[in-house]
Subunit: 297 residues, 2 copies
């Protein structure tokens, strides 16, 4: 579909590394350059053949790039924009993989003084609880959604270039507004992460916590898998998407209070209704997702 010249990926971790691998596998980029602060990670990415070249100087790494993809924690976004500003041309497509989009737009505005016409904020809905280039794999985005949130100032051809790049990884690309993205992701991703981190936190301070975990089973392991995610990345998401996340947290807390009330009153009928409806909603969701449950556990 799209044959790109140079793609520079700033932050070659799980997401950046998987994007690089997928573009290589698709043969859709002439040259992939890695950039980032950690020379060690970049050396490793080069060893693994994930990137063709790398530079710890972001400005140097983006020079000559058709597309720059910023795959760093949201808290590092602004500094990366500062570093790449002198090096990008008017035709450079700049996109990112941040889990919140409003903060990325604010950072771009603060650094560039306007929305660069090549800026296409993006978010691949994919990931695992692991991090780092060693955890990256070319199939990460296959049959996953990538949300692009272009702004009125964004050039249409920039959107098309970014969309084609993501399609080359096997993803399905959809567009929506920045605010809508941030609300939806707060509910379906950021909220569950808070709840899972919160549960492990609660139990780790329980009397006899060691024993508590000894009797936890597979359900607990699955429920808390996302609590093994990168703490810095998730800290940044909390701060970056604070408004939408607070709204989701408060709604959940209110519903939890209602459920606690039902348990306190022993209201078996209403409890069963909540559980039954939740089960049927989730079973439909899993069916639609089309990927089977892991067997056994």
């Amino acid at each position: 579909m799209s044959m790109l010249g140079q793609v520079t990926i700033v932050g070659v971790g799980l997401i950046g590394g998987s994007l690089a691998r997928a573009l290589k596998a698709a043969g859709q980029a002439e040259r992939i350059v890695g950039a980032g602060r950690s020379e060690q990670s970049l050396v490793r990415a080069r060893q693994l053949g994930v990137v063709d070249a790398y530079d710890t100087d972001i400005g140097a790494a983006v020079r000559g790039a058709d597309v720059v993809v910023v795959c760093v924690p949201l808290g590092a976004m602004r500094a990366v924009f500062e570093a790449l500003r002198p090096a990008v041309g008017p035709d450079t497509v700049i996109t990112d993989a941040g889990s919140a989009k409003g903060s990325v737009v604010s950072d771009a505005l603060a650094v560039f003084g306007e929305i660069p016409p090549g800026l296409v904020p993006g978010h691949p809905i994919a990931g695992t609880e692991r991090s780092g280039v060693d955890a990256s794999f070319a199939e990460l985005f296959r049959e996953r959604r990538v949300i692009l949130t272009p702004l009125p100032q964004t050039r249409r051809d920039a959107v098309e270039t970014a969309a084609a790049m993501w399609r080359d990884t096997g993803a399905e690309v959809v567009e929506m507004s920045v605010d809508h993205h941030d609300e939806i992701l707060a509910a379906t991703s950021h909220l569950p992460h808070m709840l899972a981190y919160g549960l492990v936190d609660t139990l780790s301070r329980w009397e006899g916590a060691g024993e508590i975990f000894e009797f936890a089973a597979g359900g607990f392991r699955d429920f808390t898998r996302i609590a093994s995610s990168d703490p810095v990345m998730w800290r940044d998401i909390c701060i970056a998407n604070r408004g939408a996340l607070l709204y989701a947290l408060q709604r959940y807390r209110d519903d939890l209070d209602a459920l606690i009330g039902m348990v306190a009153r022993g209201d078996a009928e209403r409890i069963e209704t909540v559980f039954r409806d939740a089960k049927s909603t989730r079973d439909r969701f899993v069916q639609r997702l089309g990927s089977g449950e892991p067997s056994g556990e």
Copy 2:
């Protein structure tokens, strides 16, 4: 280890069916009889070779049994005890697989007027979100814990018989008090189930709920897997273990309030500490559990 004569399993679903299969695989029971209300399930269990015989009359099914294992939702426990009371002898070992133990002891007291000396309340810490005999498999209990909560009135040889039976399935048997069991399980199992059901419930009432679920990814699927569990079984657990569950829910809610406060204040440092500690606790737990994460998503 233990060669048993007749084992009668009341409720041949996921747990009862898996127990029957495991005992057959181990060659440790001469004859396995199924009992329960649903003739259809029992016919199916017989077809699958899970039981050697069955009876919808619980009294008839338990007659002659060395061990009776009651694997029904907690809300059905008392009625099952009523049905088996006239049919069990002083030597019959009666055990169960209920997820709360205090309510089972109360039900037994109410029905028998005293703790039967053959009563060994039990709980295998194993399961999947599926239900029914078709979901049962012989390996369900392998390397899992089974908790027995014998009472001062329980005969020691009854405990040993129940323990040997569970060991024959590949499980590790531990003993603890009824109250301690109920507190630990409220924290590690009942609480996460409430949170998962609650999250799906909250999101299903979100504006544009259909779209919300469309953008949910693998993390959400794993987090909510336990919300696909049997609603009747879990309703009964909420009622049966109400006290300990309320305590766990309230502790979680208080901690969640603290986390909401951190997000509201934008306290990045404390948020990161909570996430980092939770991640390291969970990573240690998974390591100790010794079973790898499912790969990829």
